[in-house]
Symmetry: C2
Subunit: 158 residues, 2 copies
DNA sequence: GGTGATTGTCAGTAGTACTGACGATCAGCG
DNA sequence: CGCTGATCGTCAGTACTACTGACAATCACC
């Protein structure tokens, strides 16, 4: 049968279509993609990426920590953490220090300039997040965070 | 009592910590990860993955289409679409048909059994999505979708 | 002192998605 | 008609991420 092919000359580069914009997989993927782009732009002056900043956030919250503890907290594999710390150490943001009380471990801690860089990058990243949720009202943005926490099973202060 | 060590054989005390559970990058990444897991389990009997199902959703909504049109609609690169269609064709879910009116193009369309498989897999995927948002009230789940559409710049239009 | 577990590391692998190039094809213009 | 530029599908190469499995070093326990 002759095909009713839509040879639409539409030049719209990215038109999701109504059926896709209801699929959570599509929505989540593209939301993350968009946030990643915004974050990458914001962090570019600091020579960091989003994953590295997340790692730094954990290190900052925990204080000097073993790689494994930080990895668990971040929710990544310990082998993934190795390369992450490698990169951060190469940029002189953190240092590995031998841990005398348990010599299997490294203690990972900020350098002085590294922590300063972290604080500035964090501010830029927060600004990117704000831009990301800017289409939402403040209450909706807060609800959005709350719902994300709920679906990944993080106990919220409720 | 939540901070104490779980004394079972549990090996993954995935404790995000308050500093991380406020970062959208972390939340989005793990939300997507969790949905992917649920979807993968749901689609496993159908020998499909989430990306392939998304592609099929587009094909179903557009009817027989060129690869490039479908790729645009899906929001992926046209080179990415090649491998996607390759896999789906290898599973006899879709077929490439030469398009006489423009011989540069392929027309991609469902096989008979492929469309039937798609409908069943879609149902399973929807069930996985429902499980994903099950921690939310119905109204919150709907709001969640709306907010996702808003932040990726898709007009809700209803 | 010996056994089993933990830590950091590395190699290998898999999935995803991009760029750049290529042939084939189409459309427009002289 | 032939030439030129653009488009489509394809492929090779690359990059990034994150995993498994193995390893040496170290610790904890008995």
């Amino acid at each position: 049968m002759s095909s009713d092919v839509v040879d639409s000359v539409d030049q719209t580069p990215n038109e999701p279509g109504p059926e896709l914009s209801n699929r959570l997989g599509y929505l989540l993927k593209h939301a993350q993609q968009r946030l990643n782009e915004l974050t990458a732009v914001a962090l570019e002056p600091y020579n960091l990426n989003g994953r590295e900043l997340g790692c730094l956030v954990v290190l900052d919250a925990m204080g000097p920590t073993s790689q494994q503890d930080a990895a668990r907290r971040l929710g990544v594999d310990r082998t993934t953490m190795v390369a992450l710390i490698d990169a951060l150490e190469a940029k002189s943001v953190v240092v590995r220090r031998p841990f005398e009380e348990d010599r299997r471990r490294n203690v990972v801690e900020f350098t002085e300039s590294g922590h300063e860089l972290f604080l500035r990058a964090l501010k830029a990243s927060d600004e990117a997040e704000r831009r990301f949720v800017s289409p939402l009202e403040d209450a909706a943005a807060e609800a959005f965070r709350h719902q994300l926490r709920a679906v990944i099973g993080v106990d919220d202060a409720r």
